[in-house]
C-alpha cells in the first residue's frame, strides 16, 4: 500500500484535512523550487537552490509593511483562508462541485484585492485575472461533470476510489483540463495577470502593490492551489496510485516545458483559445460519453 492509498483510505476527515494543511505548502514550495531549477537549466543557467522559494517567503515575512491604502490587504487574507479551505475540502473528499465553487470564491477575493488598491497596474492585472477566470471556469466545471457522468458521484473520495481509469472515458476532458491548468498555474503563454518574470508590461500585474507578509500569503496561497490542481490530475489516474503520481509529476514537467517554450498570448487569444478548446475537447467528450453510456 502506497502512502497515497493509505491517505485515501483514512476514515478521519479532520486528519485528512490537517495533513493537507501541513504538507501542501511544503510540497507546493518544493515544486516551485524544482520548477525554478528546471527552468533555469532549460535556459542554460544554474538556477537557485531548490529551497529558494522557502527562503524568499521567510524573508518576505521580515519586510517592512508598505501599503497604498489601509484596506488593500483585506481581500488577500480572505483569498488565503478560502484557498486553504478549498484545498482541505478537496483532500478530505468533499463534493467536487463545491470545491470548484469555493475555489471561485477564493479567486474572486484575489481579483478584488487587485481592484481595491486603485493602482493602474493592479487594476489591469485584476481585469486580466478575471478574463482568465472566465476563460477557464467552464472547463473546470466540465471536469466535474465528466467525472460525475462516469462515476455517478461528485464526491472526491468516491471518485478517487473508482476502480477503472477515468482517463480512458475522459481523454478530451483531460486535454481541456491541461489547457486550463497552464492558465491556473500562471505559466506562459497564459501568464497575463501577474508574472514572476522580470519586466513585463504590467510590472508585476495584480500583485504590484503587495509586499511583505501579504505577498508571502499570496505565494503560499498559490502553493496550496497548485497542490489542489495536481490533485485533480491524480483523479484521472486514480485507479493506480503509482500511475497517478507519475502522471502528476510528468504533467508538471510538461507545464514547465510549455512555460519555457512559449511567448505570452494576448488576452483575446487566451480567452478565445480556451473557450474553443473547452468546446472541442471538453464539451464534445461529455456529449459523446453521455450518449455512449446511456442505457
Amino acid at each position: 500500500m502506497t502512502p497515497i492509498d493509505y491517505y485515501i483510505h483514512l476514515d478521519n476527515i479532520h486528519l485528512k484535512a490537517a495533513i493537507y494543511i501541513v504538507l501542501a505548502p511544503l510540497l507546493g514550495g518544493l515544486l516551485a523550487g524544482i520548477d525554478r531549477k528546471l527552468s533555469a537549466r532549460m535556459q542554460g543557467r544554474i538556477g537557485p537552490p531548490i529551497l529558494q522559494p522557502f527562503y524568499d517567503v521567510l524573508k518576505l515575512f521580515q519586510k517592512e509593511k508598505i501599503i497604498v491604502n489601509k484596506f488593500q490587504n483585506f481581500n488577500v487574507i480572505l483569498f488565503f483562508v478560502f484557498m486553504i479551505f478549498t484545498g482541505s475540502l478537496f483532500f478530505l473528499g468533499g463534493d467536487l462541485l463545491l470545491v470548484i465553487f469555493a475555489l471561485t470564491l477564493a479567486g474572486v477575493f484575489f481579483a478584488l484585492a487587485g481592484f481595491s488598491v486603485n493602482s493602474p497596474y493592479c487594476h489591469l492585472g485584476a481585469e486580466r485575472e478575471l478574463i482568465q477566470m472566465m476563460s477557464y471556469d467552464p472547463m473546470i466545471i466540465l471536469v466535474a461533470v465528466g467525472m460525475y457522468l462516469v462515476t455517478g458521484t461528485f464526491r472526491v473520495d468516491a471518485i478517487a476510489l473508482y476502480d477503472k481509469p477515468l482517463i480512458l472515458f475522459l481523454p478530451g476532458v483531460f486535454l481541456g483540463y491541461l489547457h486550463v491548468l497552464t492558465i491556473k498555474l500562471r505559466k506562459s503563454p497564459f501568464d497575463l495577470s501577474m508574472s514572476a518574470h522580470a519586466h513585463q508590461e504590467l510590472v508585476s500585474g495584480l500583485k504590484t502593490e503587495f509586499s511583505g507578509t501579504t505577498l508571502a500569503m499570496i505565494e503560499i496561497g498559490h502553493w496550496y492551489e497548485n497542490v489542489l490542481l495536481l490533485g485533480i490530475i491524480y483523479l484521472f489516474f486514480s485507479f493506480n496510485s503509482a500511475v497517478g503520481v507519475a502522471a502528476m509529476l510528468l504533467l508538471y514537467f510538461l507545464e514547465i516545458v510549455i512555460d519555457n517554450t512559449n511567448a505570452r498570448f494576448k488576452w483575446e487569444l487566451t480567452f478565445k483559445s480556451t473557450w474553443v478548446v473547452t468546446a472541442l475537447f471538453g464539451a464534445a467528450n461529455i456529449i459523446i460519453l453521455y450518449f455512449a453510456i446511456r442505457p
Binding site: F82, V108, L112, I141
Partner: protein, 635 residues
C-alpha cells in the same frame, strides 16, 4: 392549523385589500395621510402573507367560489381594461396594440357567448406551497419595495422637474399590481388568471410610461405589444381548453386534459415566455429600464416577470415528454447564455441587472422544460433567491442613480468611500447573485445537477453562462470597492424609507441562505413530493460546508474590517507605482513631461460580446425554437 375557510379569507384579503388600498391612495390628497395608509397597508400585507404560511397544511387545497357577480364584475373590468388599451393604441397610433386587443376581445366574446358558454368551474381558487412561496415574495418584498418607493419618488420628482407629478397614480398602480399578482398565484380558474395577467400587463405599461417622454412611451408600448401578443396566445389557449378539454380549471386541465392539454399548455407557456421576457421577447424588459427604479425592482425583477415562469412551471407537466418541452428547455438555456454574455458588454447598471434577470429566468424556464423533480426543486430555489438578491440590487442602484446622477457603473468609482452603507448592501446583493455560499450559487448548483442527468448540453450551456456572470459581477464589485481617500460622503441625504428597505433586504439576502435548509424541507420539498412522489434534497455534509463558509464570511469580514480600520497601525503609506514617474498618487509625468492622470476603467469586451450581434443571433435562434415549440404541438 385552520380549516380551508381560514385560507380562503386570507387569500381573498390578499387579493382584494391591496386593490382597496390603491383606490384609497388615489383619492387621498394629503401626502402624510397617504404615507400612513401605505405603511399600515404594508404591515397588513406582510402579516397576511405570513399568516398564510402558518395556516398552511402543506398540501394543495382548492376552494369553491362561484358567484355570478364575481364573473360579471370581472367581465366589466376586463372590458374597461380593453377599452382603455384600445384608446391608448389609437391615441398613440400603435395599431398592433389595437389589433391584438380586438382579436383578444373578439375571441373571448365568441367563446363566452357562442362556443362554450357557462362551463362549470368547481374550484376557482387554490393554495399550495408554491403559491405560498410566491405570496411571501409578493407580500414581503413587494411591500418593502413600496415603502422604498415613498422615499424614492420624492427625490425622483425633485430631480425630474420636467416630469409631471403623478405620484398618486404611481402608488395606485403599484398596489393594484400587488393585488393582481396575488390573484395570479391563487387562481385556478384560467379566466381569472387571464384577467389578473392582463391587469399586470397594463400596470407595467403605465408604470414604464411614467416619465412620459418619448423614450418611456416607446418602451412602454414595446412592453405592451409583446405582452398583448402573449395575452392573445393565452386567450386562444383558454378557448381551446374550454372547447376541447371541456374545463377552465388549471389543475384539471394539466392533470386530466390528456392530449387536449398539450396545445393550450404550449400557448400558455408562450404567454409566460413573453411575460418573463425570454428570448425572443427580451427586448421589452431591457427597454423597460427607463421606468422609475422601484418599478424595475418590483415588476421587472422580483414579481411580475416571475409570474411568467410561474405559469410555465404550472403548465409544463402537460408538455412532459413532448418535443415542446425540450424546446422550452433549450429556449431557457439559450436565453441564459446569450443574456449573460451580453451583460458583460453593458455599463448601464440597470441594463446589467435586466440582462441578468432575463438570464436567471431563462434557467427557471429551462428547469420547467426538463420537468424532473430535481429541476422543479431548483427552479423554485432560483425564484426565491433571485427575488431577494435582485430587488436589493435594483434598490441600491436606485439610490446611486440619484446621488451620482448616473446609472453608469463606470461612475461608481470609490463608491465604498462615498456611500459605504449602500456599497455594503450592493456587495451583499452582488455576492447573493453569483458567489458561494449565497443563494443563487446554491440554486445554480442544484440546477447543474438537474441538467446533467437530463441532457449534458444544458450543463455545458450553464458552465459557459456562469463563467460570464462571474466576470461581469466581479468587475462591478471591483469597481465599487476601489479605495481612495478624501472623498465627501454622499449618504447622509438618503431617506429613512430607502434605508429601511435596503437594510431589510440585505439581511434577507443573507438570511434566506442561512434558513435555506429549513425553507427547502418545510416548504419546497413537500410541494415536490406532492407532485412527484419523491423529492430531492441537498446532501447534509454539503449544507454543513455551505454554512461553514457563510459563518466564516460573516465573522471574518467584520473582524478583519475592524482590525484594518482601528488596530492596524504599524505600516508605511506610499503612493501607487506609476512607472517611477509619479507626481502624486494618481498623476504621473508623460513621455513629453506633461502631467497626466491615471484614469482606471473596466473592460467591456465589446468586440466579443456586442449587444447587437449577440441579440440578433439569440433572437433568430429563439424565434426558430418558438416556432418549433408551437409547431410540434399543432401537428
Amino acid at each position: 392549523m385552520m380549516g380551508p375557510e381560514g385560507h380562503v379569507e386570507t387569500i381573498l384579503f390578499l387579493i382584494l385589500f391591496p386593490a382597496g388600498v390603491s383606490l384609497l391612495l388615489l383619492s387621498i390628497p394629503v401626502k402624510s395621510v397617504r404615507r400612513t395608509v401605505a405603511v399600515i397597508a404594508n404591515i397588513a400585507l406582510i402579516a397576511g402573507a405570513i399568516r398564510l404560511l402558518y395556516e398552511s397544511s402543506g398540501g394543495t387545497v382548492r376552494f369553491e367560489l362561484e358567484s355570478v357577480w364575481i364573473e360579471r364584475s370581472m367581465l366589466a373590468l376586463e372590458a374597461a381594461l380593453s377599452a382603455f388599451v384600445l384608446y391608448m393604441g389609437v391615441r398613440y397610433r400603435r395599431y398592433l396594440v389595437v389589433l391584438f386587443t380586438l382579436l383578444q376581445l373578439g375571441l373571448l366574446v365568441h367563446f363566452e357567448t357562442v362556443a362554450a358558454p357557462g362551463i362549470h368551474v368547481a374550484h376557482s381558487l387554490f393554495i399550495d406551497n408554491f403559491s405560498i412561496i410566491l405570496a411571501l415574495i409578493i407580500g414581503v418584498i413587494g411591500s418593502f419595495i413600496c415603502l422604498y418607493a415613498i422615499g424614492y419618488i420624492e427625490e425622483y420628482h425633485e430631480r425630474h422637474k420636467e416630469s409631471e407629478d403623478n405620484r398618486r397614480v404611481f402608488f395606485f398602480l403599484m398596489y393594484l399590481f400587488l393585488s393582481a399578482m396575488f390573484g395570479i398565484v391563487f387562481s385556478n380558474n384560467l379566466k381569472w388568471i387571464y384577467f389578473f395577467w392582463e391587469v399586470t400587463t397594463v400596470c407595467s405599461f403605465l408604470l414604464i410610461k411614467y416619465h412620459e417622454d418619448e423614450e418611456s412611451i416607446g418602451s412602454a408600448f414595446s412592453a405592451l405589444t409583446m405582452n398583448l401578443l402573449g395575452g392573445l396566445a393565452f386567450a386562444v389557449g383558454i378557448s381551446y381548453a374550454g372547447i376541447y378539454a371541456g374545463t377552465l380549471e388549471l389543475d384539471r386541465l394539466i392533470a386530466d386534459g390528456g392530449a387536449y392539454a398539450v396545445f393550450p399548455a404550449a400557448l400558455i407557456a408562450f404567454s409566460g415566455l413573453a411575460k418573463s421576457a425570454q428570448l425572443p421577447f427580451s427586448s421589452w424588459l431591457t427597454r423597460a429600464m427607463v421606468a422609475p427604479t422601484p418599478v424595475s425592482a418590483l415588476l421587472h425583477s422580483s414579481t411580475m416577470v416571475k409570474a411568467g415562469v410561474y405559469i410555465i412551471i404550472k403548465v409544463a407537466p402537460a408538455l412532459k415528454g413532448t418535443l415542446a418541452a425540450a424546446m422550452l428547455s433549450y429556449l431557457g438555456g439559450l436565453t441564459f447564455l446569450v443574456t449573460s454574455l451580453i451583460a458583460i458588454s453593458q455599463s448601464n447598471a440597470k441594463k446589467v441587472l435586466a440582462y441578468s434577470t432575463i438570464g436567471n429566468l431563462g434557467l427557471v424556464v429551462a428547469c420547467a422544460g426538463i420537468g424532473t423533480s430535481e429541476a422543479i426543486w431548483s427552479a423554485i430555489l432560483l425564484i426565491v433567491f433571485h427575488a431577494v438578491a435582485k430587488s436589493l440590487m435594483f434598490l441600491c442602484v436606485g439610490i446611486t442613480e440619484h446621488k451620482l446622477s448616473s446609472k453608469e457603473i463606470e461612475n461608481m468609482d470609490f463608491l465604498i468611500m462615498v456611500m459605504p452603507k449602500v456599497s455594503a448592501a450592493m456587495i451583499i446583493g452582488i455576492s447573493g447573485m453569483f458567489l458561494a455560499p449565497f443563494g443563487m450559487l446554491i440554486s445554480k448548483w442544484a440546477t447543474l445537477k438537474a441538467f446533467i442527468d437530463f441532457n449534458p448540453i444544458m450543463a455545458i450551456i450553464l458552465a459557459y453562462g456562469s463563467a460570464a456572470t462571474l466576470f461581469f459581477w466581479t468587475k462591478w464589485m471591483g469597481k465599487i470597492i476601489t479605495i481612495k481617500y478624501g472623498l465627501k460622503n454622499l449618504e447622509k441625504v438618503v431617506s429613512p424609507w430607502e434605508w429601511t428597505t435596503l437594510a431589510v433586504l440585505s439581511f434577507m439576502t443573507i438570511g434566506v441562505c442561512i434558513i435555506f435548509p429549513v425553507l427547502s424541507s418545510a416548504l419546497i420539498e413537500p410541494y415536490i413530493t406532492e407532485l412527484f412522489g419523491t423529492s430531492p434534497s441537498m446532501d447534509r455534509f454539503n449544507i454543513i460546508i455551505i454554512m461553514i463558509i457563510m459563518l466564516g464570511l460573516l465573522t471574518m469580514l467584520p473582524v478583519a474590517l475592524m482590525y484594518y480600520a482601528w488596530l492596524d497601525k504599524d505600516y508605511k503609506r506610499v503612493g501607487t507605482y506609476l512607472g517611477g514617474a509619479n507626481v502624486d498618487n494618481i498623476r504621473f509625468l508623460g513621455s513629453t513631461g506633461e502631467e497626466l492622470t491615471a484614469d482606471i476603467r473596466n473592460y467591456y469586451l465589446d468586440s466579443f460580446f456586442s449587444e447587437k450581434r449577440l441579440f440578433d443571433f439569440g433572437w433568430v435562434a429563439a424565434v426558430f425554437l418558438v416556432i418549433l415549440m408551437i409547431g410540434v404541438v399543432i401537428t
